[in-house]
């Protein structure tokens, strides 16, 4: 058994939130990444966008302050911060597609070393998938960070040379946060910039299907180690 302890969902959310600089406009996608909004450090102004036309989302409301007319794209009830505004759906996605968001954090099924992302469908034969706004966000935001478990529960690899699931968008991912490591996607492939205590670069690489380099050295199957 491995002698390391993966980051929890909450630890991961805290870490991602910590890495978002003040002033960025950010969409948190749907699913796990919405948790991140609750961990933005107090006093740091980060402007949260939601596909359904909200700029300036705040955290979940207390029950007595809940506004039934105010939900995010995951249909969670949210609040507004001072300075917030509403847009219609076309303008909201115009903001996304037009490259006006500094960051979008998405969940993922697979990420490839060329930045390809698969996060909407596990098979070409899924004839009725849910695509939602993932493709628009993936092509539109200035940078895409993906938050996902390093492998599936069944042990399938997700950090790959090439995605095998249908793509959400090509060459869009800039960084991956897994329960084991933080990995930048660069022109030269995956670069590990942080990892949990106790795991080696080799062990991490074995859990994926693509070469990894570390921030300071060079490692991986590309023969450059």
């Amino acid at each position: 058994m491995p002698n390391w302890k993966p980051w929890t969902r909450e630890e991961l959310a805290v870490r991602v939130a910590r890495d978002i600089p003040e002033g960025w406009s950010v969409n948190l996608g749907i699913g796990i990444s919405t948790l991140i909004g609750n961990y933005i450090p107090p006093g740091r102004e980060v402007i949260l966008h939601s596909e359904n036309g909200i700029v300036g989302m705040g955290p979940a409301p207390s029950p007595e302050k809940l506004n039934p007319w105010l939900v995010n794209a995951s249909r969670q009830h949210v609040t507004l911060v001072t300075g917030a505004s509403y847009m219609n759906h076309a303008d909201s996605f115009g903001m996304v597609r037009g490259g006006h968001l500094d960051l979008c954090v998405l969940g993922g099924f697979q990420v490839a070393e060329n930045g390809d992302l698969a996060n909407w469908s596990r098979s070409e034969n899924d004839r009725a998938p849910a695509i939602g706004g993932a493709m628009d966000l993936a092509v539109g935001a200035k940078r895409i960070w993906v938050v996902m478990e390093h492998t599936t529960k069944g042990g399938e690899k997700r950090i790959l040379k090439r995605c095998t699931y249908p793509l959400t968008a090509k060459n869009c991912v800039k960084r991956v946060y897994t329960d084991l490591a933080v990995i930048d996607v660069t022109e030269g492939g995956f670069v590990v910039i942080d990892k949990i205590p106790g795991i080696s670069l080799d062990q991490l690489e074995e859990l994926g299907d693509a070469g990894l380099r570390s921030e300071t050295g060079v490692a991986g199957r590309d023969g450059l180690r």
């Binding site: 939601s50 596909e51 359904n52 036309g53 909200i54 809940l66 506004n67 039934p68 007319w69 105010l70 939900v71 794209a73 249909r75 969670q76 009830h77 509403y86 847009m87 219609n88 759906h89 076309a90 909201s92 996605f93 115009g94 996304v96 597609r97 469908s121 070409e124 004839r127 009725a128 998938p129 849910a130 695509i131 939602g132 706004g133 993932a134 493709m135 628009d136 966000l137 092509v139 539109g140 249908p166 793509l167 959400t168 968008a169 090509k170």
Partner: protein
């Protein structure tokens, strides 16, 4: 005197023909014209093409319209969502056609329909399954997909306040698809939570000018359901 108010949902839905394309606004049950969808079920038009963000949830609204076999084709971004039971059954039987569209492309296609833009290129979906069978072109180094405008024979909208010209404002996240859908219907029908005197909605705050609106019916249905997950 211009007065777009009608007295009942039945009157609002009068004349909708079989085989119509019907745009239904709303996102996650907020700003969704549920009374009008129920009115459409009542009214009886069939063989419809429905454009909505989802294929419906539960057994009500768009889901019920589909469940009653009245929808020939659904154009949406979420086909399979929590509780899309009725759609799943009918889709498995092959009794409904499905067109999956990325949500931003869906909004933009409806916006294009209202704004007289017949088609546009978008990077969304480039290089993916959803580009198959579509015209694509590399623009500024990115693979883009040619998408067609969507226009409705009928557009169903929920407003927060409306006046007799059909000027509309929306509440909070209830805005979503509504202004876009309102502009893209040949027959735009609005249910409004509140009625305003002409002039109460001021020039700077009106979101949808009444020019886009054909009929308005007062439906004070109250807050959308609160769902805590």
């Amino acid at each position: 005197m211009i007065d777009k108010f009608v007295r009942s949902v039945a009157e609002a839905m009068a004349g909708i023909e079989d085989s119509s394309t019907v745009l239904v606004s709303g996102f996650a049950q907020i700003g969704e014209p549920r009374a009008l969808v129920d009115g459409l079920i009542e009214q009886g038009a069939r063989d419809l093409i429905v454009v909505h963000n989802t294929a419906g949830r539960g057994r009500e609204g768009v889901a019920r319209l589909i469940g009653e076999g009245r929808v020939r084709k659904i154009i949406c971004s979420f086909a399979r969502s929590r509780g899309s039971v009725l759609f799943e059954e009918i889709y498995a039987r092959g009794d409904i056609e499905l067109e999956i569209v990325p949500q931003g492309t869906l909004a933009e296609r409806i916006r294009a329909g209202g704004a007289g833009i017949p088609a546009f290129f978008t990077p969304t979906g480039g290089g993916t399954l959803l580009a198959r069978g579509k015209e694509t072109r590399v623009i500024d180094g990115r693979e883009c997909v040619l998408e067609q405008a969507i226009r409705g024979d009928v557009a169903l909208v929920e407003a927060w306040r409306a006046d007799r010209w059909g000027n509309l404002v929306y509440r909070d996240a209830g805005r979503n698809f509504n202004p876009v859908v309102a502009a893209a219907g040949d027959l735009t029908i609005v249910q409004t939570q509140n009625v305003a005197e002409l002039g109460e909605l001021t020039p700077e705050v009106i979101v949808t000018p009444g020019i886009y609106v054909d009929r308005v019916v007062h439906v004070p249905s109250g807050d959308p359901p609160v769902v805590i997950s």
